[in-house]
Symmetry: C2
Subunit: 235 residues, 2 copies
């Protein structure tokens, strides 16, 4: 049965990397000695090695070792044998391109369906939706497809940002962009604010963290969902 | 010889649609009686018809008629015979998909090289670069390619937004996103702030408007360019 934490962000403004999630992760990964980390999204372009070191430092606090998937000769085998998997944030186009390049997309879906515990943050959360089409990232690389893992039956918008009433900037708001998505796509989109996450256990999907999430559905007004909401029947 | 205005935005915060550009456009389109409008980017998902009406109202102020390209049975012919062309903002993925769908991308390049005066705003400016890979938009539709018109030998980031020092939001800044682009791509990227535009006459490219633009090059620190800068040799 599926066992995922799908977090909006890795880091809160006043915190260290992953700190706010560590108590939750200590439980989530309680049977994990070595976590497989997927660093492909490379935030700010940092190397796989540097990114993996940063993640190792954070998980050392809860006594979990981290191995980057780039360290394996056979990344597919690494996924299949993983005790737990974490995909970090960065650029979603790059992440998805790499997952396809190494034929890991459908393998990851199969593996997570079998119950390997998973953590995603930001881009690593985006890919747990049906498609990556509600990412905030720049298309720095052309992926072979926008289809992603489909671990939840909707799409995600991590780092969801409310419109700033004082801004004079005329670029589209996040809400406008999601509205444009809904001109062509009927999937619900969940805007996850920083500090929120989804806890997926089997077919049960619960909103956690202190904040509300914002749910967008085609041809409907957006809806605020309180923390604790059960999203299991959303589709 | 090329003759383009490539504007960051259609609308300033305190202004009406296209108002700040109208004096410039009256000169740019002085020989144009009927302008061909490309509404494919559909901001907020508005229809081709509604978008074209809005544009017609603005151009009526400088006595230019507007016809939407969707009104033609043969859009390729409409491009070839156009006295002037305007591509409005909205979603760049959608715009690029439609241009490829109707086989207009390379035709538009050829037509603009011959000198048909062109105006782009936002997404309509994005496509004048070599690729659409520095757009801010959501990938709501999967285009057959990210290649665009190549009217300037670099890429554009319209609605360029400086980092907000007071923000507690942890999503990537625009500058970080462009840095990620430069991990994989060597093209310069020009961040055009709202109210700035490029004036392209033949091979001459001049920055206009009141503001500076921000130039990003691979492996170099970003650079502020004053208005009036000559970008003709940038590549």
């Amino acid at each position: 049965m599926k066992n995922l934490i799908i977090a909006s962000t890795s880091t809160l403004h006043d915190g260290e990397y992953l700190d706010y999630l560590l108590p939750e992760l200590a439980v989530h990964f309680k049977d994990v000695k070595t976590l497989i980390f997927i660093p492909y999204a490379r935030p700010s372009g940092i190397s796989h090695e540097a990114y993996t070191s940063k993640v190792s430092e954070a998980f050392a606090k809860i006594h979990i070792k981290v191995k980057g998937i780039h360290e394996f000769e056979n990344p597919a085998e690494a996924i299949q044998n993983a005790e737990g998997i974490f995909t970090g944030g960065g650029n979603t186009f790059l992440l998805v391109s790499q997952l396809y390049r190494y034929n890991l997309m459908s393998l990851l879906t199969e593996t997570l369906k079998k119950g390997t515990p998973y953590l995603g943050t930001s881009a690593g959360s985006n890919i747990t939706g049906l498609t990556m089409q509600t990412t905030n990232d720049m298309p720095i690389i052309y992926p072979p497809s926008f289809q992603t893992l489909g671990m939840v039956p909707f799409n995600l918008n991590p780092h969801y940002l409310d419109p700033d009433a004082n801004s004079k900037h005329m670029g589209e708001t996040r809400e406008t962009r999601i509205k444009e998505f809904h001109q062509f796509n009927s999937l619900p989109v969940l805007g996850l604010r920083e500090g929120s996450w989804l806890d997926v256990k089997g077919e049960k999907i619960i909103l956690k963290g202190d904040l509300q999430a914002r749910l967008f559905r085609q041809n409907q007004n957006p809806e605020e969902l309180p923390t604790g909401s059960d999203l299991s029947s959303l589709k």
